[in-house]
Amino acid sequence: MSVRAVAANGGTGRDTGHDGVRGSLRAFVSGRRRHAPWLLASVSIVIALVLLSPLGLIVAQAAQAGWGQLWSVIDRPFVATLLWNTVRLALVVTLLAAVVGTGAAWLTERTVLFGRRVWAVLLIVPFVVPDFVLAWTWSSVFPAVHGYWGAVLVMTLHLYPLVYLPMAAAFRAADPGQEEAARGLGLSRWAAWLRISVRQARSTLLGGCLLVCLALLAYYGGFEDLRYQTFTTAIFGELQTQFAPAVASSLSLVLVALSVIVLGGEAVFRERGRLQRSGPMAQRAQTPISLGRLGVPALVAVATLVGFALGFPVAVVLYWMVAGGSSALPAAVSLGAAAGYTALYSALGALVATALALPIAMLATRHPRRWSAALERSTFIVQAIPGVVIGLALVYVASRSLGFLYQSPELLVAAYVLMFFPLGLVAVSSSVARASPRLEEIARSLGKGPWSVRVSVTLPLLAPGLLAAYCFVFLSAVTELTATLLLVPTGVQTLATQFWAYAEQGVSFGAAAPYAATMMVMSVIPVYLLGRWFDRRFLAQPGERSVLEVLT
């Protein structure tokens, strides 16, 4: 309690108005109670419940089939194989992505690597190549790329940016003073980097690894291309060829359980590894390290990585666009229409997800209590529910009770919102944390009413975070395949599903290529903005408007 009072006196401006039941009661009696965030709290609770509903639906669905039958589905050698396939892939790819991502981040941020500014951008871009496009380009050119090792290669190339991006930002933000202090205490440069910068970035690294792991559990298209069986491909198999929704939802339960284990493990480690820089002291720039004789091999390594993950798929797509006869098959919808639908659904999903993230972020940041933090964290469980499971849950609801929603655009947008809400929340939360309530108070003292302050101060301060959240969700929705395949409205094709329709059957690479190219182009802009946002977030400089300048 005394800490809180000191914080209040120190002028941190945190809302300390309603701590302690006795204090609030006394204040309530005297009519001086600060209005509690009841509206905000109730809205947030409703949002959290809606977000967690798919989990309940899946359980309900499986329960309907009967727990005995559920167990008979799970207790099969087939499921053991799936489990083994999934776990060994997740472990190896996560490890490789961590090593590759951290190494690349170190090279671009801390050394004099030739052209490191350019590489820093190019290393992020591979994420715009959807997993199923990358897998398709590799396996169509090199048929040997398939199965376990094929999946390891392709998934590492696709997912390392999830580690690279936060690690690069963390290295850039690391205080050189701390490493210097460590060297002053007798550590070598290498040891100081490991024990200070890497050690402090541990929770960042774990966060990246978590995203890699969850993505691996959720992906479908890429594994189908590579003929590698995981839970997702098995679930699709049950649905589309065996028409066994009960079996599919039983398998989904196992998949969700795996994801929850991953999420829980990360949370356990993150709690211990929480570190912050002390004080708002100005930071000196770091002196990059000379690579010496290792300069050329490092350059070759980075170039190879970018070449494999970005250059190769882009080249293959371009090749097929030029060489392949794209007129081989009549398209269900034209390229333009597919792009339009993709943009529309993704934009709506991004808009709704961002809007829903705001109340929860405000509640957790402005009114930090145990229950509000728990509420915020509970929504992250959604991240552990793979797209196929959310798709199944929504199909279940629509087919049972809300028939009018079945195969409606609304349902697909809802799926995007559910799936990508946590991404939006991360972005919104960090900017809410920086939109200090003290600034709002100052604005009030200058004669502006509460709503005027929200418009003229709070909203502009939140804008970069809201924009980042929007980009995050939009990008993810554009390249989403799994849930889209399940929920796409009748007679509609998005870029992803149309690409898939052509590429999966191997009918016409030439016809598929333009769809892949359009998807990549549509994702490049959000990825670029995201990269900028990560810089800002970790550098903690107030000049955030530059993100907006990019847009205008």
Partner: protein, 362 residues
């Protein structure tokens, strides 16, 4: 301009009491500093006056208008208060000019008021910059201009210079106080820096235990503190045990005359305040006997600190008591180890020694 009155203010955060029946009256146009240790509730006091927080009980008036009581509450935007926070808290998304113009009506923004304020705070031509392109001192100047722009009734300053380095702090403080005086703004300035509190204020309030312990002009506060705690808070203080009788007090530094405040009333064991600059020091054997000087004491120099314009010498007295601090102008006439004679000039302040709560024991 305006008066502020805080009457019987109580405020707790959870189970921690911050203000316990605080009273404060700020006269029209005065510059008042509130001096207190960190955590003493200074910032809370300002936030209550500004309307950012509400007290648990008590009344706050500005110009006889009740702005906060059990029944009335005037929202911050209706109080016409200028608030300058520790870190400036400029709006990062607005330029300097738009920060300053934030509290102005649209037509005032184009009336030259912003340029006028930029010039006032010495930042002419920087209106197009963003806050992060300014130094810390410049940011505080903008924060002041922003607070003054809408002609506030009262200006509240929450340790506005504490995040700046020492030399910048002194010159900025000089400028800011000159501007506030020119504007004849009623000002409440909270700080934990006693030199700052004494140098800028018409009236100083010493805050501790959730109340204002003493509220007086700086000279009075320094020469006649009401109790030993206040004495120690303001500047360096030697607190000696003594015995008072007939308008004088017997101490280890000799028999010293009591000041006007407590000449006759005090009898028996007392605590005596002797400021370090009241003591003159000589090598032993050469004690001048001047008018008003007591009989003196002898001791040995155990430590010396040199400050350029003066120096402080720590002397261990022969006989008893803790060592005393002596301030002497210019170069110290003594070395560590010297045997010295001490003599007190002028009257001293004393309080009855309490059996408990003796500050010498802390």
């Amino acid at each position: 301009m305006s008066r502020i009155a805080c009457k019987g203010i109580w405020k707790s955060f959870g189970n921690t009491r911050v203000l316990e029946g605080l009273d404060l009256e700020v006269p029209d146009g005065a510059v008042v500093t509130v001096l207190g240790a960190s955590g003493s509730g200074k910032t809370t006091l300002l936030r209550l006056i500004a309307g950012f927080e509400r007290p648990d009980s008590g009344t706050i008036l500005i110009d006889d208008e009740v702005v906060d009581s059990a029944r009335h509450f005037v929202a911050p935007e209706r109080r016409r208060i200028g608030y300058v926070a520790q870190e400036g808290d400029l709006f990062p998304h607005l330029t300097v000019a738009r920060n300053i113009g934030f509290g102005l009506a649209r037509r005032e923004r184009t009336s030259g008021r912003i340029e006028e304020l930029l010039e006032l705070v010495g930042l002419k031509g920087l209106g197009g910059r963003y806050p992060h392109e300014l130094s810390g001192g410049q940011q505080q100047r903008v924060a002041l201009a922003r607070a003054l722009a809408p002609h506030p009734r009262v200006v509240l300053l929450d340790e506005p210079f504490s995040s700046l380095d020492a030399s910048l702090r002194a010159s900025l403080r000089f400028d800011v106080m000159r501007i506030l005086r020119e504007q004849r703004a009623t000002t409440v300035f909270v700080t934990h820096d006693q030199a700052e509190a004494l140098s800028v204020a018409d009236l100083v309030g010493i805050m501790s235990g959730g109340r204002i312990r003493q509220f007086a002009p700086p000279e009075e506060l320094y020469s006649r503190p009401i109790d030993p705690t206040v004495a120690q808070f303001l500047g360096e203080a030697n607190l000696l045990r003594g015995r008072a009788a007939r308008g004088a007090v017997e101490t280890a530094l000799g028999t010293l005359p009591l000041g006007d405040g407590n000449r006759s009333s005090l009898v028996g064991p007392v605590l005596v305040l002797v400021r370090p600059e009241q003591i003159s020091i000589q090598r032993s054997g050469r004690v001048p006997v001047g008018p008003g000087a007591g009989e003196g004491a002898t001791g040995r120099v155990i430590h010396r600190e040199y400050y350029g314009h003066d120096c402080v010498v720590l002397v261990s007295l022969d006989g008893a008591e803790p060592a005393v601090r002596v301030r002497c102008p210019g170069q110290a006439p003594v070395e560590v180890g010297d045997a010295v004679a001490l003599q007190v000039t002028g009257a001293v302040v004393a309080w009855p020694a309490e059996p408990s709560g003796d500050p010498l024991r802390r």
